[in-house]
């Protein structure tokens, strides 16, 4: 695993639980194919052998919302269907991500019409929009890679001791205060809080039991 330290041929490596969790999560996305129109055909191409989303670990399309964590809304969404989509979305377990695939799902597209929702972001928290009518399967792959990058930059567990409420109660250990060891990709924003935490840790290295004041 890239960025791991201290294996030295000893048969083990160390990393941060955040990094390995995000690594696992981003490489095993299970899409919920909300295929509503012709975009769903391109979505099948995206999952099929030629474009092969299995290379990114998300070939397992799950038609059951309980087992999915990425909803791909492919196609135009009518007002009648929007309630079903929102219900399926609410049934998906957290954390979950959403792709609005194609012009219709993003903005209503050519369906400038009383029966079609003008963009599913009116009722869903969309993460990535794909343009195109319909988009090429490459575009869907690109959107999937965007979602993966987003997941890798998230604070899933580190939030508990560096950002969240628990941070004030956690002793700062030197190995914790390193900035993102074991992260696959450097986060785009190592934010100021982490800087403070590592600065505090470096200053007070002799007293690791001191609680961090973030």
């Amino acid at each position: 695993m890239a960025g791991s330290n201290g294996s030295n041929g000893q048969g083990f490596f160390t990393t941060r639980v955040d990094a390995i969790l995000n690594w696992a999560r981003s490489n095993s996305l299970m899409p919920m194919p909300m295929g509503l129109a012709c975009c769903a055909i391109e979505m099948m191409g995206f999952a099929g052998p030629k474009y092969d989303s299995a290379r990114f670990g998300s070939e397992a399309m799950r038609f059951s919302p309980r087992q999915a964590d990425l909803m791909i809304v492919a196609g135009w969404c009518s007002y009648k269907m929007s309630h079903a989509i929102r219900r399926v979305w609410d049934q998906m377990g957290d954390p979950k991500w959403c792709i609005a695939m194609g012009a219709c799902a993003s903005t209503g597209g050519m369906h400038r019409c009383y029966g079609v929702v003008q963009g599913v972001d009116n009722f869903l928290p969309v993460d990535v929009y794909i343009s195109g009518c319909p988009p090429r399967p490459e575009s869907v792959l690109h959107a999937l890679m965007d979602i993966q990058e987003k997941i890798r930059n998230e604070y899933s567990v580190v939030k508990d001791y560096a950002h969240g409420e628990a941070a004030s109660r956690t002793p700062v250990l030197p190995e914790n205060s390193d900035r993102f060891p074991g992260q696959l990709e450097k986060p785009k924003t190592p934010d100021a809080t982490l800087e403070t935490v590592s600065a505090t840790a470096r200053d007070e290295d002799d007293d690791p039991a001191e609680p961090a004041v973030a």
């Binding site: 007002y79 009116n122 869903l124 998230e154 924003t189």
Partner: protein, 234 residues
């Protein structure tokens, strides 16, 4: 060139048959009728129209011919009798389609059209009735052709016709409490804001009544805390 008396005879290798023909927009004479293979004379039933005229007299208002197809305008009070006659006497056994038209004129604003096929003759006939805005009642043809049931419901949904004696006069597509008839010309293209509810922004929230909530800054809550985007890193 297919023979006009046998509409099923067709030779796909005949280059003459592959030639593109414009559908004539003017009233065509008899010599042009066989010239256009795309306007086959399956919609020409002069003998049936003649029989209708004899049976019903001035109930048959007029006869319109466009693109080599006949359209019979019928007085709307007798449309069910005309359909029953066509079904029982003239073997028009297959009800294909029914729908509404909004012509947006001052009088006789709406039309309802009926496409009926005789599988025995391999001929089709198109009937139309004119409906004025002040009196939206049209006799339902559902007692004659049961296939008309859903089509009449749809026409009621979209235009607001009152199909008398329809057994199940509910809306077809729009919700029961929808107040408008969307295919009328005066209905706005994007709909009336707030007439159709969107799902709530949170699992247990209120319905979203603004169809353009995102454009007005509404942001549905994400299930995770999004890291802030660094503009410089791109």
């Amino acid at each position: 060139m297919s023979k006009p008396d046998n509409p099923r005879a067709s030779n796909p290798k005949d280059p003459e048959e592959l030639r593109f023909h414009y559908t004539p927009t003017h009233t065509s004479g008899p010599e042009e009728e066989t010239d256009n293979p795309h306007a086959k004379d399956t919609t020409r039933v002069p003998d049936v129209i003649e029989a209708l005229r004899e049976e019903f007299g001035d109930v048959v208002l007029s006869l319109d011919r466009y693109a080599n197809e006949d359209t019979v305008y019928v007085r709307k009070e007798r449309i069910r009798d005309v359909c029953r006659y066509l079904r029982e006497e003239e073997n028009f056994d297959y009800f294909v389609d029914l729908g509404g038209i909004d012509r947006f004129t001052d009088e006789d604003r709406y039309e309802v059209f009926y496409n009926i096929v005789s599988t025995e003759r391999q001929k089709r006939i198109r009937l139309k009735v004119r409906v004025d805005e002040t009196d939206m009642r049209v006799p339902s043809v559902e007692p004659v052709y049961r296939a008309a049931n859903w089509n009449e419901r749809e026409a009621y949904d979209m235009f607001g016709f009152d199909f008398v004696d329809h057994p199940d006069p509910r809306r077809m597509y729009m919700p029961e409490d929808f107040e408008y008839h969307p295919l009328r010309k005066e209905f706005p293209q994007l709909g009336v804001p707030g007439s159709l509810p969107l799902p709530p922004q949170t699992p247990d929230g209120e319905l979203t009544m603004d169809p353009f909530a995102a454009a007005r800054g509404s942001q549905p809550v994400k299930s995770y805390e999004e890291p802030p985007v660094d503009q410089d890193s791109e």
